[in-house]
Amino acid sequence: MSDKRLSEDEVVAELRSGMTIGIGGWGSRRKPMSLVRAIARSGLRDLTLVSYGGPDVGVLCATGQVKRVVYAFVSLDTIALDPHFRSARQSGSVEDEPWDEGLFLLGLQAAAWRVPFLPSRVGLGSDLMRLNPRLTTVRSPFADGEELVAAPALELDAALCHLDRADARGNACFLGPDLYFDDLFLRAAATRRFISTEKVVATEDLLGEAGTEQRLRIHRAMVDGVVERPGGAHFTDCRPDYERDEAFQKEYAAAAASAEAWASFRTDWVDLAEDDYQARVAAR
């Protein structure tokens, strides 16, 4: 019986520059931020990020480690746009691969089901077809003959998600309002599927923690490593464990104002060990 517990740095040691990394959560909600911070402290570069984007994308754009962003939006929820991502786009420093947020689901699902594409009406007539070079159309082989969009499989080299509770083997549950697309991210990567969690519990306690088996949506065949990190999603929303730290998020957003502001934020909140980060957050 395998114990899959790892540290953030052990997860990062499994990643390589140039990889395509899928990150779970949604906007500024239940993002695996301790893993993102560990990447930000690493020498990894030229990453392609696949995300329902929030500060995961913004932080790694600010550190200059992103080559390409595969996304439908990058939002902080209470702040409509992540300003670090905006700066990266407006300076032309990241490649942009736009998707529709539903088509994106189909791309992840295609990768999870190991098929090259799934058909959809989504994208027809829009500039997605012009601006996303991976999108093309496919004709229905049936009598209708409709020409539809082929959503290509979004295959991932690694997937990172944050769940509320897990056991040491990688079974996990969400406790908040929505799983988002975390299960699809974990299935769209064939290997290197990592979760962080607020708390590791014994397997026999997992159902009690979840309250209902309908929340036990991640099982151990979907997960290669488990990082126990209370506060691992900070500063994003991780209800019911904690709400978004809006004051902190405002400081993060304000740090996009200048290179000096970012350098200062980076020293205070990125270039430090995660234990120190959590202690510093607790002392605020």
Partner: protein, 252 residues
């Protein structure tokens, strides 16, 4: 009781949903969320509406439910696409730019997409929304910067672009109306070019045209947008938006 401009806008949004029946009314933005609630609380009682997160709720209040929510169903993000792609939704989206044929942009501004002057929301769900469902738009700041002859990026699909893309794109395309702080517009013209449907009280046709960066189709007689009834005003002020958030989006 005299209705404010914001309350006229709320009423015009509510009118967008008239006749929609038992589908998801999915208005995005402050005044749209109030207008959708107004439609359901009065003349379209079968509409479904969300709490902005993962549930469909039957409450008339638009933004806060201090006494708890009445949840009708669980509707996480993934389920939203089941609604959208099966055609059981009428969405009201914003638009940073919109052209005469209803092509919408809220992704990026500027001629070079690889290095935009302003990165905005991204494509979000606009391509899928427009080719699958009834779609209307809400523009709280009617101006020539928003109503442009040609958008920089097509996120939401207009009539002409859908026609060029073929029958799979036009099959379910259903662009309904644009409600702004000045007027209501639609595409009920033979050429599917934007038409002035009504002006809000106190606004002239000339003012609307001057705030639009292309020539509108203007009928000989342009009616006035209707005022909310006393019952509707009471619902807006006492039940749906007691905090008065509507007045912040469209100040008097």
């Amino acid at each position: 009781m005299t209705a404010t401009r914001a309350e006229v806008c709320v009423t015009a949004i509510a009118e967008c949903f008239r006749g929609d029946g038992e589908i998801l009314a999915n208005p995005i933005g402050t005044i749209p969320m109030i207008g959708g609630r107004l439609a359901r609380a009065s003349f379209e009682p079968d509409l479904l509406m969300t709490d902005g997160e993962a549930c469909l709720i039957s409450d008339h209040a638009a933004f806060a439910w201090p006494g708890g929510k009445v949840v009708e169903a669980y509707n996480p993000y993934r389920s939203m696409f089941d609604l959208v792609w099966s055609g059981r939704r009428h969405v009201i989206m914003g638009a940073s730019q919109i052209d005469p044929f209803g092509n919408q942009n809220f992704a990026a501004i500027g001629p070079d997409y690889a290095r935009p002057k302003a990165q905005l929301l991204g494509f979000r769900g606009a391509p899928g929304n427009t080719v699958n469902d009834a779609t209307s738009y809400w523009v709280p700041n009617h101006s020539p910067r928003v109503f442009v002859e040609s958008v920089d990026v097509v996120t939401g699909v207009g009539w002409d672009r859908a026609a060029a893309a073929g029958p799979a794109a036009t099959r379910y395309l259903d662009l309904r109306r644009v409600v702004t702080n000045l007027a209501v517009l639609d595409w009920e013209t033979p050429g599917r070019r934007l038409r002035l449907r009504s002006c809000h009280p106190g606004v002239t046709v000339a003012e609307v045209q001057a705030a639009t960066g292309f020539e509108l189709v203007v009928p000989d007689q342009v009616p006035q947008s209707r005022l909310p009834t006393p019952e509707e005003l009471e619902l807006i002020r006492a039940v749906i938006d007691p905090e008065g958030l509507r007045e912040k989006e469209v100040p008097a």
